[in-house]
């Protein structure tokens, strides 16, 4: 398909064109830059929701039940589900789509025109996302989905790239994945706008919920209070009583049993509430500005490196560097100077 055909098709609601455009972008075909240029002004309308958490906590099942819930609320839902690609063979088993089943078997999600599901391989990239996730989100956005759910690779403790793509980040946990200290570690448990304790019908869900609430309620003020408190007061902190008085957004902790559909409506409510909060406070603009800044710098960086390769004798500099004749900082200064000089001459 030609670029015009793809872009026109995508913007007029042709799924085939959308599917093909994603393939172009994911594989970084030469046409992909032109596609992104042409659709960009049609983006920025969707609410992008990221779901992350350890492997097997139920992210895919939550995604499918959330999709059903948002469909009931009249929203069109696009889904990107990422699974790991092998660092050895480059292959991948993308097994998120098979969970796509709602509670109501009379309304299958697979053939619902208001649902689009795309599986992606991380292709060996760390961080929990595929390299082109951001651009694929934009394609779904331009197509006209109201909500875009991005499911990360089953994440470890430090895979937090989802916050660079999502407006709202949902961190999914389950019972028996560690103790109170685990919950207070840096990384994935810091990034949630909403926390979910899935599989809440297993024993120990209340404990995780309590730890999470406690963790979230520890700010300067509450720590100050805690230091002067009795055990009875500490229990009140743990209950979330003080936490809820806090200014700004208090990440809610929601218990779900995804395969039975329990807690899904509450989770969808929280996601919608968070979006509204971000719109009212201007946080959405702030987050999106951060995101485009990062993307812009990345593009500029790539262009600069290209310029260095075209306009300088960088190979000579590298050779000197390898012989330890100069240091890397001097080398960088030399390159920058040469680029600035030669770039003007073209």
């Amino acid at each position: 398909m030609k670029v015009e055909e793809l872009v026109e098709g995508l913007l007029s609601g042709n799924r085939r064109a959308l599917a093909r455009a994603i393939t172009y972008v994911e594989n970084e075909y030469p046409e992909s830059k032109e596609i992104m240029k042409r659709i960009f002004t049609n983006t920025g309308k969707a609410h992008i929701v990221g779901l992350t958490g350890f492997p097997g906590v139920g992210k895919s099942t939550l995604v499918s039940k959330l999709t059903e819930e948002f469909r009931k609320r009249g929203k069109k839902v696009g889904i990107i589900a990422i699974d790991p690609g092998s660092p050895f063979t480059g292959g991948a088993l993308l097994g998120d789509r098979l969970r796509l089943d709602g509670m109501d078997s009379r309304k299958p999600l697979w053939t619902d025109p208001g649902v689009f599901f795309r599986s992606m391989s991380s292709r060996g990239r760390a961080g929990g996302l595929a390299a082109k996730t951001g651009d694929v989100v934009r394609l779904l956005d331009a197509f006209g989905f109201d909500i875009i759910l991005v499911e990360t690779v089953g994440a470890g403790q430090s895979e937090v790239d989802i916050i660079e793509v999502a407006d709202t980040s949902v961190v999914v946990m389950m019972p028996e994945t560690g103790d109170e200290i685990q919950v207070n570690k840096a990384g994935i448990l810091e990034i949630g706008d909403i926390y979910v304790v899935n599989k809440a019908d297993l024993g120990g869900a209340e404990k995780v919920e309590r730890w999470l609430r406690y963790m979230l309620s520890l700010d300067e003020e509450s720590v100050q209070m805690l230091s002067q408190m009795t055990h009875a007061d500490e229990a009140r902190v743990a209950s979330g009583e003080f936490f809820e008085r806090r200014k700004g957004w208090c990440p809610p902790v929601i218990k779900t049993v995804a395969d039975k559909g329990e807690g899904i409506a509450e989770l969808a409510d929280a996601i919608e509430r968070h979006f509204k909060y971000m719109e009212e406070t201007g946080l959405i603009e702030k987050r999106r500005k951060e995101r485009v800044k990062r993307e812009l710098f990345e593009i500029v960086m790539n262009d600069v490196i290209k310029l260095v390769k075209e306009k300088t004798n960088y190979r000579d500099v590298i050779a000197k560097l390898a012989r330890n004749e100069i240091d890397p900082y001097t080398a960088a200064d030399m390159i920058v100077e040469e680029v600035l000089k030669n770039a003007k001459e073209r």
């Binding site: 393939t23 092998s86 292959g91 088993l93």
Partner: protein, 140 residues
């Protein structure tokens, strides 16, 4: 970068035998393909729409129910209906298929049928050689 070959491994209809499909999915993964597994009991419409949305290069349909002559052409027709082009994909069928039916299936647009006992490496080889061939033929 060379484009990764995407394969949909699909179970269609009322057939609960998925060991073969799962083993195949795993082996294709190890052979460098990106494999999307559908899970059990999918309808032809569901498989077809997944093939289009996921923009796969190969659709592998696994059947042990005996309903292959009814279900496989439906998958192919729905792919076309949803805007996909079966002529630029490989359509493969695996399962317990009688010899006469293999001929029928190929007339319906199936590129190859693999019966129990086929070494999986043969399937991998088939995909790697036949996919570019079919694409070339379709373009000309």
């Amino acid at each position: 970068m060379e484009k990764k070959i995407r394969v949909l491994v699909a179970k269609v209809g009322l057939d609960g035998h998925d060991r073969g499909a799962k083993v195949l999915a795993r082996f294709l993964r190890d052979s460098g393909f990106e494999v999307i597994y559908t899970g059990l009991h999918r309808t032809p419409q569901e498989v077809a729409m997944a093939a289009v949305d996921e923009d796969v290069d190969v659709v592998g349909i696994s059947l042990h129910s005996g309903a292959h002559l009814a279900l496989v052409p439906k998958v192919i027709n729905y792919i076309r209906e949803y805007g996909g082009n079966p002529d630029e994909m490989l359509i493969l069928v695996g399962g317990v298929i009688p010899t006469d039916d293999i001929v029928e299936l190929k007339k319906m647009g199936v590129d190859e049928v693999f019966i129990p006992g086929t070494p999986i490496s043969e399937i991998v080889e088939f995909i790697k050689t036949k996919l570019p061939e079919k694409r070339k033929k379709n373009e000309s």
